[in-house]
């Protein structure tokens, strides 16, 4: 008999726990869908986008709509999953879309020699603003469009550099 009453108590507590958990789950999935498909924030750091982005780190807003709608243009700063290290996401600028001819310096620190490349279909050519310290398409080639994660459009931190990118 005691067991039955314990089970009854546990049942109502479990029901309430499930109700609270489902509210939390709905909230989290709403946040997640906004984060993954509309707008999110990222900390971007490193020397490859100097002087546009600071070396020690900037918090930028990323929008995930343009690349799905095919509205990217040369000059956009993108977040792209690295083709050589799938765990890493890099921030670079689009220099050429598919079909464009891109000319770049092969060794900017040492020589003036340049190379011209045709960007293949379904790919983009990305380069860091700081060509002297950037591993980008000059190193790993044109990047398939499917690796693009989003476009950085607004810097929110540091406050002194707040503004559109």
């Amino acid at each position: 008999m005691k067991l039955l009453s314990y089970i009854k108590q546990w049942k109502s507590a479990a029901r309430e726990a499930v109700a609270q958990a489902s509210i939390a789950a709905q909230f989290l999935s709403f946040i997640h869908i906004t984060d993954a498909y509309i707008c999110s924030t990222t900390l971007v750091q490193g020397p490859s986008m100097l002087p546009t982005l600071n070396y020690s780190g900037d918090v930028v807003l990323i929008e995930h709509l343009s690349h799905r709608l095919g509205k990217l243009e040369p000059g956009d700063i993108l977040l792209v999953r690295s083709p050589v290290d799938p765990k890493k996401i890099v921030a670079k600028r689009i220099v050429g879309m598919e079909g464009d001819r891109v000319t770049y310096l092969t060794e900017p620190s040492y020589s003036e020699s340049s190379r011209t490349v045709l960007v293949p279909k379904g790919h983009v050519w990305i380069q860091g603003d700081n060509v002297y310290a950037s591993a980008d398409s000059r190193y790993f080639g044109a990047v398939p469009y499917g690796l693009i994660q989003g476009r950085a459009f607004l810097r929110v931190w540091p406050i002194g550099d707040f503004g559109y990118l």
């Binding site: 709905q26 997640h32 690295s82 083709p83 379904g122 398939p144």
Partner: protein, 161 residues
């Protein structure tokens, strides 16, 4: 009148929640894929098979040689293709350049962070032999279990027949 609006709002919210759960399951856990076309004959039928595909293995880097994977096409980004992984990064892959006409083979090493995918039907398949090795991050799902047609119900073969 307000009760009608409230009821409409509640029903819409319910549909949105159900859709949200379905979407998250489809994108992060498990989805049903319709795979069709000649490039994976005889493993996958020409007219189309419904196959359960899971999205957890690619994230955990548990995709290996012999797995059939769904990959976002590097040539047409709005399309996904179904092929078999023939080589992981660092593997040496040997393939026939033109299987219809000659026995000429070429051999490459799969670069870091990439996979080499080929269709089981090498005579009619656009795969890494055409567009080169594919970055690992483009691998979206791994095919697990065929659910339609019923006579082919069962797990997907790990190695090409």
């Amino acid at each position: 009148m307000w009760s009608i609006i409230r009821e409409a709002f509640d029903k819409t919210l319910l549909v949105a929640k159900a859709y949200g759960i379905l979407h998250i399951t489809n994108s992060y856990l498990c989805t049903v894929a319709l795979a069709y076309g000649p490039s994976m004959i005889p493993t996958i039928n020409l007219t189309g098979d419904l196959i359960l595909a899971e999205r957890i293995s690619p994230r955990l880097r548990k995709v290996g040689v012999g797995d059939i994977v769904i990959v976002r096409s590097p040539v047409v980004p709005s399309r996904v293709v179904t092929k078999r992984v023939v080589g992981m990064e660092g593997d040496r892959v040997t393939y026939l350049l033109d299987p219809h006409n000659s026995d000429e083979v070429r051999s490459t090493v799969v670069p870091r962070g990439h996979v080499w995918i080929q269709g089981d039907n090498i005579y009619n398949s656009k795969d890494s032999r055409d567009f080169g090795p594919v970055p690992y991050a483009l691998v979206e799902a791994k095919l697990l279990w065929r659910v339609w047609p019923p006579k082919d119900f069962g797990p997907m073969q790990h190695i090409a027949r």
